[in-house]
Subunit: 407 residues, 2 copies
């Protein structure tokens, strides 16, 4: 008996009627003779509604209590999906993250999975049940509820698939696969039929929102094939594995972008650029990701973080490092040209710079990453820059994509 | 340091602004130098909203999944109250029922507390924190979330107070104390200033909704004084203890009533009325409470259960007992004259019958209970019968009750 992990998010968990449709999709997989584990997100705008309640109480909620609050969103969905499956005659049981044996560190609001005890799920699968697991959450050593932060439900699915040695991890979402860029904004973006883990990691690390890097890392480490596909259509989706059917003649596979970035420039920093790795490590203690600008002057360092992380980043930096002053600049975005072994193609960086310069888009290059050439641009130029790069690197589909019929 | 357990329900947890007001009430107690444990219910109509979601999925949800679903209601409140207390500068931590060490049996939807591990709460109290606990829920031996059924949050509060050897258990609710009858329907009902546990148990067993019998039993067993009071006013409330200041000249202390009852008459029952205790025991395995009619014919037995329990009761009866046929009658209600040692006053039953007969209200007496004389009446006569008995037993307040100013 093969184990398939399915993850449903987005509009597929938007309402009771969507949940019933999701149940059909789950039953199809079960009826193929597979053991099925389903990971779900919170319904529709539940998370926002809960966050709004908190904001009416306090502007600075403790993350432990936010996790207690927000984790109810997924808990509602798992109960309803288990009911929908039972209504269709399937044996099913719902598990919170903690009940599913998902143990995390204690970084509330952005926790990392430390270990998974697969026994509770395997026991129920052996009993013939479909196991429905709350995504995005786990339990800390203290027995407290934690949430995994951005992309959390994908990570739950991939980590469970790895732990359970699943045959496949299917990520059902609102789009029908992984695209060369976000098709909501870049109209000529094309669906990619197959990708390697590394290509997907590069895309995800660059900000392709369809999958979080953590989830791909879990899948890669344990060799679990992933499929990104639509919950609304029967389209094939994008297959992610160790090898890809993609031609490697051209190294660029996509253009990704992420807004809501702020740069923090530390002036007169003791140690200068040599402290980069120490800074990165300090921020990582709070699971804050940062990028560094290339080509900064001596004794100055500029890092790029998410808007939401600015306050905490400055606190951490002030505690651990000596610099007389700092400045911040908001309204920035990251735009990244993603590819395989892209550093072995030095021409990419020059070409990207030329394209942006030609349209007078201000940009600063981000330090080298093996899978991308990345620039910080003004937020208002983000989509323009991405579209220009998409065209320049030959990624545009020749004709308009076919409209996919919604079932 | 004394421990005070406070329970808030009803409109006091209706919205974020109500929760902020509740936080003030909690802080008052904390500022008196007490260690405070707060037990809360779900906000406003959350439980109904969640139940409605389930009803859109299935008409027969499994109780385990309903518990998974409904328990999120209290979980939202505890997170928000902990945040509100933190916003006011107090150290506070929220606990689900399971985190608070509340272990129950596995009767999902109507579970009973088996044991409480007080250690997690005591540890946080020792650290100076206000501990906020989700009422109405616990955890089963399997680690599943259970709910305690009706009156569950009061039971949580009383059981915690007992386990923690609290000085007092304050039940904050929408009414300012325990009344001689439900003041929403019986306008001449009077507030009772003090009651013994046994009187309160009799009132609660008869259906006085203000407190569930289970909660009073916990408090009595461990001698924890309870106070029922309003969350909206500073009124003294009703004090419940081993002794009362009430004059014992007259045994009747209140008239209580409960609607939505159905009678089940078993005809040709083998064993006749001798199987009563076996039937009661069979229903109790599913935590279903029943009453038996007095004065039934040989080889016939009529029991009274809640509407909601009829289907399950009939199933359990058919499995365990032999009877050729049964009939049911819905739209019934229980009306009870409650008092201390009321069986030693045989005159009570005669007087009650006379009052009901005089107004041509159909009734059947329920088998003797030590603390009440109870009759089944048609649902539509419930309030009329209660009002008549309230007057007849001298419970009416002489003048209109004072209107209590809402703060």
């Amino acid at each position: 008996m093969s184990i398939i992990v399915q993850k449903f998010g987005g509009t597929s968990v938007g309402s009771p009627s969507h949940i019933k449709r999701m149940a059909s999709r789950v039953m199809e997989e079960k009826n193929r003779g597979n053991a099925v584990v389903v990971v779900v997100s919170a319904m529709g705008d539940t998370t926002d509604t809960l966050a709004k309640l908190a904001s009416e109480i306090t502007s600075q909620p403790k993350q432990r209590e936010m996790d207690m609050l927000l984790s109810t969103g997924e808990q509602v969905t798992i109960a309803l999906l288990a009911m929908a499956l039972q209504e269709r005659g399937a044996e099913s049981i719902s598990f919170t993250g903690g009940q599913a044996g998902i143990h995390t560190d204690s970084v509330h609001g952005n926790a990392k999975i430390k270990t998974i005890d697969g026994e509770p799920i395997l026991r129920e699968l052996d009993a013939g049940k479909i196991v429905v697991v709350a995504g995005f959450q786990g339990i800390t050593e203290e027995g407290y509820i934690s949430t995994l932060g951005r992309g959390g439900s994908d990570t739950t699915a991939a980590a469970l698939a790895a732990q359970l040695e699943a045959e496949r991890c299917d990520i059902y979402t609102d789009v029908d696969g992984v695209y060369t860029s976000d098709p909501r904004y870049i109209k000529k973006a094309a669906k990619i039929s197959s990708l390697t883990y590394d290509d997907m990691l590069n895309l995800a690390a660059g900000g392709a929102g369809v999958l979080h890097p953590r989830s791909v890392k879990h899948a890669k480490k344990y060799g679990i094939p992933m499929v990104v596909r639509s919950s609304l259509t029967k389209e094939r989706g994008t297959f992610i594995n160790h090898s890809s059917q993609r031609s490697d003649r051209y190294p660029v596979i996509g253009i990704v972008f992420q807004g809501e970035r702020t740069s923090i420039t530390l002036s007169g920093l003791e140690g200068g650029s040599k402290v980069q790795s120490a800074i990165r490590a300090a921020l990582e203690t709070r699971n804050i990701e940062c990028d560094f600008f290339k080509n900064h002057p001596e004794s100055e360092l500029t890092l790029l973080v998410q808007h939401n992380d600015v306050k905490e980043s400055v606190e951490l930096l002030s505690e651990g490092f000596k610099f007389p002053r700092f400045t911040t600049q908001g309204n920035l975005a990251k735009v990244a040209v993603i590819g395989s072994n892209i550093r072995t193609h030095p021409v990419i960086q020059g070409k990207a710079a030329k394209v942006l310069n030609a349209e007078h888009i201000e940009f600063k290059l981000i330090e080298d990453l093996p899978g991308s050439v990345t620039a910080a641009v003004p937020q208002h130029d983000m989509h323009l820059a991405a579209g220009l790069l998409h065209t320049a690197f030959g990624l545009d589909v020749p004709e308009m994509r076919k409209v996919v019929a919604v079932q």
